[in-house]
Amino acid sequence: MGCGFRRLISMSKQADAGGGREDSTITVAFLQQVPLFAELTADELHELVAVMQPIELAPGQLLWRQGQEADALHLIRGGRIGIYLRQPGGTEVHLTAAGPGEVIGELPLIAGGTRSAAARALDRVQLLSLSRVDFAALTLRRSPTALALRRRICAVACTRLRDRYQQLASSLPPGLPHGASEPPTAAELTESAPPDDYLGNLAFFRDFAADHLRSLVERSQLFMVPRRRVLEHEGDAPRGCYITLNGAVEMTIERGQHRIPIGLAGPGRAFSYVGLIDGKTAPVTMRTRELSLLLRIAPGPFAGYFHGATAKSRALFDAIERDLMGALRRNDLGFVRAVGTAAIRTSAMAPQPPAP
C-alpha cells in the first residue's frame, strides 16, 4: 500500500513537471553521465527513472538530519548540498559539499540505518530521489538493474572505506607498521569445521542454504591461527577473503608506535575482501586478538562467487555486501570524532601476574 502510494506521487510529480517518455529520456541521458549508473543499460536506466522522484529544496532547507532514518538515495541535478556532522558537545563540522551529477546517501539504499551526518541545501537544489522501498522492490524481483547497481554501490563503499581510513591515517604521525605480516601457513590448516547449525547461526551465513554452505566450506581452507598474529599489513596484496568462525581478528591503522582500532571481525564477520573487490592492496592491518578459526576463500573462487549470477554466488554476494555496509556504517559513525578523542596508544597494558 505504502509503496503504491509513493509511486503515484512520483508519477504525478513527473507529469506536473511536463514528464512522460521525453522527460524520462532526458533523465536517462543525465544518469548515464553519473559514474554510479554508468554501467547500466538504457533499458535499465529507464526502469530506474520510472521509480525516481524529483525533489526541490530552497536554500538552507534540510534534506535530512543527523540520526534520521535513511530512506533514499539522492542524485543532485542542480545546486549544491552541504554535509554537516554534529559532534559530541553539539559543535557542527562542515564535512563536504556535493554538486550536480553527484550522488549522496547511496549506501543506506542497501544498508538502511540512520544518517551519520546532516544534509542541507546550500542554494536552490533539484534532486532525483530513489527510495529504499522502490529499490527493494527491484531487488526482490531479482532485476538485473538492481544487481548491477548493488555491485556499483559495493565499489563505491570500498572507495568510501579507503577514504575514511586515509583520513584517520592522516591524523597520526607518519611511519609505517613494524615487521612483516605472517599469513596462515599449511601447518595451521585444520579439518575441524564447526557443526553446520553453529555456522548457520553466524551472521555471514544467515541466508545460505545448507548445501550452499557445505559447498563453500569444501571449496575453502580452514586455518587455526594463534593470538597476536599479523595476518596482513596495510599495503599487502590481497590473499583471499577470510571469515571468522571462532575467535577475533582486529583491524587497525598503524603508523609507527600509534594505531587506531577500526573494528573487530568476530564470529560471522568477514575481512580482507576490499582489495579483492577493487583490485587494490589491503587498506588496513589485520591481527588476531584471540586464537582464531578462519575460513579463507582464495581470490579465484571469491571472484567467481562475487560476480556470479547463481543462487549460490548470490548468497555470498549478499553476505559480503551486508558486511561491507556494516563496516562502513561503523566507520561513518565514529571516524571524525575518533581522530580527536580515541586514538589508542600502542603501549599496551600487559602486566605479568605477581607470584602469589
Binding site: G67, P88, G89, S116, E290, T341, I344, P351, P356
Partner: protein, 308 residues
C-alpha cells in the same frame, strides 16, 4: 548480562540519566536496545560521590532487588541528588534456579572502609572450576569479606588485593595498573584450569576522583557447541559507549553533551547510549581500557589497548 553507567564531571542530576532520556538506564532494564534477548531483572545499585555532602569521601550507596521502573523511592531520590561522580548498575541474571537474587549480589561492590567501587557487565564462564584458583591472589582479609555468590565480587576482591593499600584512594595510574593486573591473573588461572570459553569482563571502577572502564573479553568468539543459548547471548562483543563534553543537558528537546570550549569537563560511559540517536556517542574499542580523572583545569581522558 547487565547494563551499567558511569559519570564523572560537574554535578549532574541523577534523574536525567536514570529516568528522563529516551533510552535511560531504567528503561534499559526492560527494553535494552543492544541486547538480543535478555532482560535485566536482578536488581539495581548505585554508588555516588558528592564533595558537597557530609563526609564527602564516603559515597552514597543504594542497593535494591527492585527494578528501577517500579522503585518510587529511587525516583524521588534521583530527582534530589546531583553528584559529581557515580556508578549505577542494573543486574541481569540468567533464567536459572541456580541464580541468587539478593542485595549481596547487587553491584557496584564497595566494601566498608574501602574507597574503590566496582561494577561488572559480563560473566566468567566455568567460574566454579576456577574460583578457588583465584584465592592465592586475594589477600586473606579480603577473601573473608566475600559474602555474595557472583564472579563479580571475586573480581572486586581480586582488584583490591592488587592495590598497595586496599582501603586507600589510589590515583588513576595505580588503579589502572591494578585493573590490568587483575585481568592478567584471571587469564592465567583460566589457562591453568583449561577454560577457553568466551567470557566478557566489562569493568566499571571508580574512586569518585577517577573512573576506569574496560571493554574486554577472554577467548572472545569461542563457545561450547552443545549450548546454542551461548550464541544468542555471547555472539556480539558486549557493547560500551561514551560521550564527553561540557555538560549533559537537554537542548531543543534532545539530550546531549554541550560543546566543551576549553576541553571536556563531563564524561558518561554506558553499556549503551542513553538516547536513541546515537550519533553523538562513541563506541569504546574492544580490548581497551579508558581512564578519566579530574584535574583542577578539567577532565583528563586516556584510552589504552588492553593486551593481557
Amino acid at each position: 548480562m547487565c547494563r551499567v553507567l558511569a559519570y564523572l564531571g560537574p554535578p549532574l542530576n541523577v534523574d536525567n540519566v536514570l529516568f528522563t532520556t529516551d533510552s535511560s538506564l531504567a528503561r534499559q532494564a526492560y527494553s535494552p536496545r543492544m541486547m538480543a534477548s535478555f532482560l535485566n531483572l536482578a536488581g539495581f545499585g548505585m554508588v555516588a560521590w558528592d564533595p558537597d555532602s557530609r563526609m564527602p569521601e564516603a559515597p552514597f550507596v543504594y542497593r535494591t532487588t527492585t527494578l528501577p521502573a517500579f522503585d518510587r523511592n529511587l525516583e524521588n531520590l534521583a530527582r534530589k541528588i546531583a553528584p559529581r561522580c557515580f556508578l549505577a548498575h542494573i543486574r541481569g541474571a540468567s533464567n536459572s534456579p541456580e541464580e541468587v537474587i539478593s542485595q549481596r549480589n547487587v553491584h557496584p561492590f564497595l566494601y566498608s572502609g574501602a574507597h574503590v567501587a566496582l561494577a561488572h557487565n559480563g560473566i566468567l564462564r566455568d567460574f566454579g572450576r576456577m574460583r578457588y584458583g583465584l584465592l592465592e591472589f586475594i589477600k586473606p582479609e579480603l577473601a573473608q569479606r566475600i559474602e555474595g555468590t557472583t564472579d563479580s565480587e571475586w573480581l572486586y576482591a581480586l582488584l583490591l588485593s592488587q592495590l598497595e593499600d586496599p582501603c586507600g584512594v589510589p590515583g588513576p595510574d595505580e588503579l589502572a595498573a591494578a585493573v590490568a593486573q587483575t585481568l592478567s591473573i584471571v587469564r592465567r588461572v583460566r589457562e591453568q584450569h583449561d577454560i577457553r570459553i568466551s567470557s566478557a569482563v566489562n569493568l566499571f571502577v571508580s574512586t569518585g576522583q577517577c573512573v576506569i572502564v574496560t571493554r574486554f573479553s577472554f577467548d572472545y568468539g569461542w563457545y561450547p557447541p552443545e549450548d546454542p543459548a551461548f550464541l544468542e547471548w555471547d555472539l556480539a562483543y558486549l557493547s560500551l559507549w561514551y560521550t564527553l563534553g561540557d555538560e549533559y543537558l537537554e537542548r531543543g528537546g534532545e539530550w546531549m553533551m554541550t560543546p566543551a570550549e576549553d576541553g571536556p569537563r563531563s564524561l558518561i560511559l554506558a553499556s549503551e547510549p542513553l538516547t536513541k540517536d546515537v550519533s553523538t556517542w562513541l563506541e569504546v574499542p574492544e580490548y581497551s581500557m579508558l581512564t578519566a580523572w579530574i584535574k583542577d583545569d578539567g577532565l583528563r581522558f586516556q584510552a589504552l589497548d588492553l593486551d593481557v
